[in-house]
Symmetry: D2
Subunit: 161 residues, 4 copies
């Protein structure tokens, strides 16, 4: 058994650039998060892209779909921005790839005090391992099927439709 | 659906005492970890005891068993020291309580740099939600059934028997 | 002997807003930083304003000058954005207030991994205590007189003129 | 102008050992703390020893004295355990080395949440730069001459005699 973990960017992976004062993407924090987690489960890490999910369009969603399709692992975690996580989940859900695909992200970047990123990553790894084939969003300590979830932007949480 | 989270102490919850220079137990860090996780799943937190798992004996294990038995929630996470996690899991496993009980802990305390605690807590919450009734140890990114796992103390990781 | 510590905003005090994904100002982090520092020196904390130093104009600089003038403490630390720290220092320097005034800030916000904020705050508190009356910038482990320092923005460090 | 920074161990540098659950000494955290501080002042780091200050005896104090004597820098920061910081300061004070020597330490290790270590390091670096030749203890946001300070162990703070 093994896991594929795909980075696509999002708040989870945002890092502070001291020169510009902006939050930007650099090398993904995910490998160091997984090392810290002391994972002994075999996994492959794939840094596919590094985008704000508001900048993610159909071609990028197809790229993520393709990465899932060609994945040798049937259990996949995708770290993704929360704003359009639902849209990407829908593309993957409709593709019916026969794999257990779990999208997660963070409301506060991994590198910032009080981040939910490490909790969410752990939660998503377990969900990808344990869920039946299908596409899920794992946020706020819950596993939502892709077709019945939305982000409540005012509250900053995911909710069942 | 809701979750019960029981604190019993262990490395996860150790905190530094500036006056003695020792790692001790104070108020559990788990409520603040769960708040940080932005859990919207309903849960009840039960600070049952605060022990090094090396100091845990049969009466304490029965106390944990009783807490699981009287729990209204059928999905239970127990935060426990790693050294005798297997022994407590066995007591719970043999009790056949018909609930999904997941023990987790940490190799590095939550309050110390590079801790695995938050990842493990997230992982265990998902496992308790998703696993069939039974007793499991969730560490190192894996879910182990209670009867087929041991801690490799030299390596500091859990392994299948 | 006692110290006045004045917050004016700047990178030091930037905090992440989960709802907008922006770095914003909330309640200053300085009181909690000083508690963590276990200061026993008496001090008064004054949250004067919360501005990016690029947004700071002459009226704000006069406000800072006034706060220094009316300060009962003759040793003053000002936490300020780095981009126009030199300009504010000049206003204070020309005012010849006869107090030991030390401006400091941070290249990485206090709440972000790897921040220099706590080091700089400690450095500035010592400098305000020990320097002769005058106006200084304390950054990068150095104390610069106000009239002979500039920020090298490409390198992100302060340098002597 | 340049600074010598000497590590001798103490709480500042204690690190958690996941295998034994003990706080131990490994490679000093001070170089990474100084890098994080974005120091541009030239400095030399000397990892002299790694001891609990309760284990420090006369030979070790002479070793620290010798390191200060042979230091090419006349401004010296010594990171030291707090319990016998006063005793080492006395050995250095009586040696009358004609240098500005500042001892500091921490009540909470650098690697543990809420540590005062980085603040103290910044404070001590400024004090070593700015104080007249002599031997000082810099803790709790104050600079104490070596002959007029003691640690109040019940309160965990340094006080003037």
């Amino acid at each position: 058994m093994s896991l594929r973990i795909i980075a696509t960017g999002g708040t989870f992976d945002k890092q502070y650039d001291p020169l510009t004062g902006q939050l930007i993407f650099g090398a993904s924090v995910i490998p160091s998060a997984l090392q810290r987690a002391r994972m002994t489960l075999a996994y492959e890490f794939e840094p596919l892209m590094a985008l704000d999910s508001l900048d993610m369009l159909e071609p990028q969603r197809q790229q993520i779909r393709d990465a899932c399709e060609r994945s040798q692992q049937t259990q996949i975690v995708i770290v993704h921005g929360t704003d359009t996580m639902r849209e990407t989940a829908e593309v993957l859900g409709r593709a019916e790839l026969g794999k257990s695909i779990v999208l997660t992200g963070a409301m506060v970047p991994y590198r910032i005090d009080g981040s939910d990123a490490l909790f969410n990553l752990g939660f998503a790894c377990a969900a990808a391992t344990l869920c039946a084939p299908g596409v899920y969003i794992a946020m706020n300590g819950q596993v939502f099927p892709w077709h019945a979830v939305h982000k409540n932007r005012a509250a900053g949480v995911f909710e069942s439709d």
